[in-house]
């Protein structure tokens, strides 16, 4: 895989990892999945899984770059991944809020 491919893979992994962290927070779980039960997705499980994914993302970064460079790339990718997840939650909240409001108006 090319370096760009590795970085993209690292970013995607980091996004999924950050999404796990977000789902471990009750408010966001309710926002995204409604009243669905946390069957196996216990907050702690999600946090451990999220942390593992972020660690894997770092490992992928080291495949594209020397370790010290990868540290920088990884740190910045984590920030970007967190923004992507936050943005997705915000957009989701907006989209799911609009029809409900229409409903009430009717």
């Amino acid at each position: 895989m090319s370096d760009a491919g590795f970085l993209l893979a690292a970013l995607l992994t980091a996004i999924i990892g950050m999404a796990c962290f977000a789902l471990s927070i009750d408010t966001h779980w309710a926002q995204l999945l409604g009243k669905r039960e946390r069957a196996i997705a216990h907050p702690l499980t999600l946090r451990v899984g999220g942390a593992a994914l972020l660690a894997i993302a770092f490992f992928i970064c080291t495949m594209a770059d020397p370790v010290l460079m990868a540290v920088l790339v990884w740190t910045m990718l984590l920030t970007m991944a967190a923004f992507v997840v936050a943005l997705a939650i915000t957009v989701h909240a907006r989209l799911s809020a609009v029809p409900r409001r229409d409903h009430r108006a009717e």
Binding site: T27, L68, V73, A86, L87, I89, T90
Partner: protein, 566 residues
């Protein structure tokens, strides 16, 4: 006790942030632009739009140019004020130090010369004085840049970059001090911000634009601050570290004898002569040393283009040559091999650095960003802009939180802060875009071409302050200033015009630069178009909102007027 500590941190965060946030905005924004300083240079001096080139032959190209470079007049004036007695005439001064360098992003070879002067310095702490001269070489022709190109303003490296670290306040080096103070403030703001944040993990991903303005502004301020915290902290800290010797001049100023003995010890350890011998000497082939250095790097399996060559004690038997690697593959800089200038023999190769030096090299390197990694470069650019967003939303929150209270008390505090925020956010963008446009539109043969561009920048910025001040009246009565929307429209228009002007004056439109793969110019154009679109979108939303509010206000006041008549 805990609550009061948090409150005191909130107090510190608010008022320190307010006092120096305007400067931080400037430092972060121009720092972000400096990530692409060489690219902005290419855009602003179209004659130098060429692919990056490796360092040319030192013996055949660089050495013949050395005698033609004279000390800089400004630097002569500076030196004259610092030494006893009149300086010798410029023609008699000979170069005693040479530095030439280039990198993977730069099509020009930059050359700096040092000239020893015989005068004793006024300050006994300085042992000998120097004056400096500089020029740039076009590797394609092997000649000095011609046609006044040497004097043309390279906006990236000569204007935006110095703005980032000294704000162009040269008097008594005050600009450096102000930036240092702002950097310390940033660190304090980050720490106090974390302390005062109540739900740092629970609201990690939280942005609620549908909530009231105060809440959503705070969400955005917290989110940008927290998510980019590692970047913001490290970039601020490393920036301060770069100027640590200047801010805390203990070694260079107060412990002069200690520094002197340190220099001597260093010279003893490395074998590199500390002083010239005073006997003229002929330099051996530097090209041979460059190829020796490259062979050594190839042996170690690292990318081996020469980044710079310097000659110390040039023209003396004690001359030595330093060959530095263009560190494309690593963060830290400073990888050098030293050769004897007379014999060309290897004298000393920088050993693997000690841990403390390695940490310092890493922090320096991540701030100077000499590496070749376009993905990381863009990430750091975006990181800087997130810092700007964090600071800007801090101002918005300050104003939003207080404006009704101020309005009720008849205070103009929040309207003044709002006007300053407009100036330091959109006003700065307006001034920058105007300068870029002026760079393309002003005729090159205009006398003082560079001064014109700089003056246009400063006066435009001043004009945005006046404009923001005139429009901020509604804020004093709890409303919103229309300056935000108006200046956003101006940014959209000016940035688009700058891109168009680049097309008209050079023929380098985006389709051409993209199909040629000439990213330096294409990248600058694309960023300006994105900025224009974002500013236009913001302006549209703001204007619609204010129309909505005006209409609502009219509706509400209309029956009131009617009832009065009855």
């Amino acid at each position: 006790m805990r609550e009061t500590f948090r409150q005191s941190m909130a107090y510190l965060h608010t008022w320190l942030g307010l006092a120096l946030g305007f400067l931080l905005m400037v430092i972060f924004f121009f720092g972000s632009l400096s990530v692409f300083d060489r690219e902005i240079d290419r855009w602003s001096i179209p004659e130098t739009r060429a692919p990056a080139a490796p360092l040319p032959s030192f013996d055949k190209v660089v050495l013949p140019i050395v005698p033609s470079v004279k000390p800089d007049a400004d630097d002569m004036a500076r030196a004259a004020a610092e030494v006893i007695g009149p300086l010798p005439p410029v023609e008699t001064l000979r170069a005693t130090g040479i530095w030439v360098g280039s990198n993977h992003r730069d099509p020009l070879v930059r050359m700096f010369l040092e000239f020893d002067i015989p005068n004793k310095p006024v300050d006994p702490n300085q042992d000998h004085g120097h004056v400096h001269g500089n020029t740039a070489i076009d590797p394609a022709t092997g000649q000095r840049l011609t046609g006044g190109l040497e004097d043309r303003l390279a906006i990236g490296t000569r204007f935006f970059f110095p703005m980032h670290f000294m704000l162009h306040v040269e008097w008594a080096m005050l600009g450096y001090w102000i930036v240092g103070l702002a950097g310390m403030t940033m660190l304090a703001a980050l720490v106090s911000g974390v302390v005062m944040h109540r739900r740092i993990f629970r609201e990690f991903f939280t942005f609620r634009p549908e909530k009231n303005r105060l809440r959503s502004t705070l969400d955005l301020h917290n989110m940008t601050g927290v998510l980019a915290l590692p970047f913001l902290f490290v970039i601020t800290f490393s920036g301060l570290l770069i100027f640590a010797d200047f801010y805390v001049p203990s070694v260079t100023k107060l412990m002069r004898p200690l520094e002197k003995s340190q220099e001597t010890a260093e010279a003893g350890r490395t074998g590199l002569p500390e002083d010239p011998a005073g006997q003229p000497g002929q330099l051996a082939s530097v090209d041979k040393m460059m190829s020796d250095a490259k062979a050594r790097w190839a042996e170690r399996g690292v990318p081996g283009e020469v980044g710079f060559v310097s000659v110390t004690h040039f023209g003396d038997v004690n001359a030595y040559v330093t060959v530095g690697r263009d560190n494309v593959d690593r963060v830290a800089t400073q990888e050098e091999i030293h050769f004897n200038g007379m014999t060309g023999e290897l004298m000393y190769e920088n050993p693997p650095t000690r841990p403390i030096e390695a940490v310092k090299g890493f922090l320096y390197g991540l701030h100077f960003q000499h590496f070749k990694h376009w993905g990381l470069r863009w990430l750091l650019f975006v990181g800087g802009l997130i810092g700007c967003a964090c600071i800007a939303t801090g101002f918005l929150f300050f104003v939003e939180k207080r404006k009704r209270k101020h309005a009720a008390a008849g205070s103009i505090g929040s309207s003044v802060v709002d006007a300053l925020a407009v100036t330091s956010v959109t006003g700065m963008l307006v001034a920058t875009a105007t300068m870029m446009l002026a760079n393309r539109v002003l005729p090159v043969d205009l006398p003082a071409h560079d001064t014109w561009q700089k003056s246009i920048f400063w006066f435009t910025w001043l004009a945005t302050l006046v404009h923001a001040g005139l429009r901020s009246k509604p804020v004093a009565s709890g409303g919103a200033s229309s300056a935000w929307a108006e200046q956003c429209w101006a940014v959209a228009a000016l940035a688009t015009m700058a891109v168009l002007a680049n097309w008209v004056t050079t023929g380098d439109h985006l389709l051409k630069t993209l199909s040629d793969g000439y990213w330096p110019v294409a990248g600058v154009d694309i960023v300006m178009l994105i900025a224009a679109a974002a500013a236009g979108g913001t302006a549209y939303v703001l204007s619609r909102r204010s129309q909505f509010f005006t209409a609502a206000a009219r509706e509400m006041s209309a029956p009131a007027v009617g009832s009065q008549n009855v």
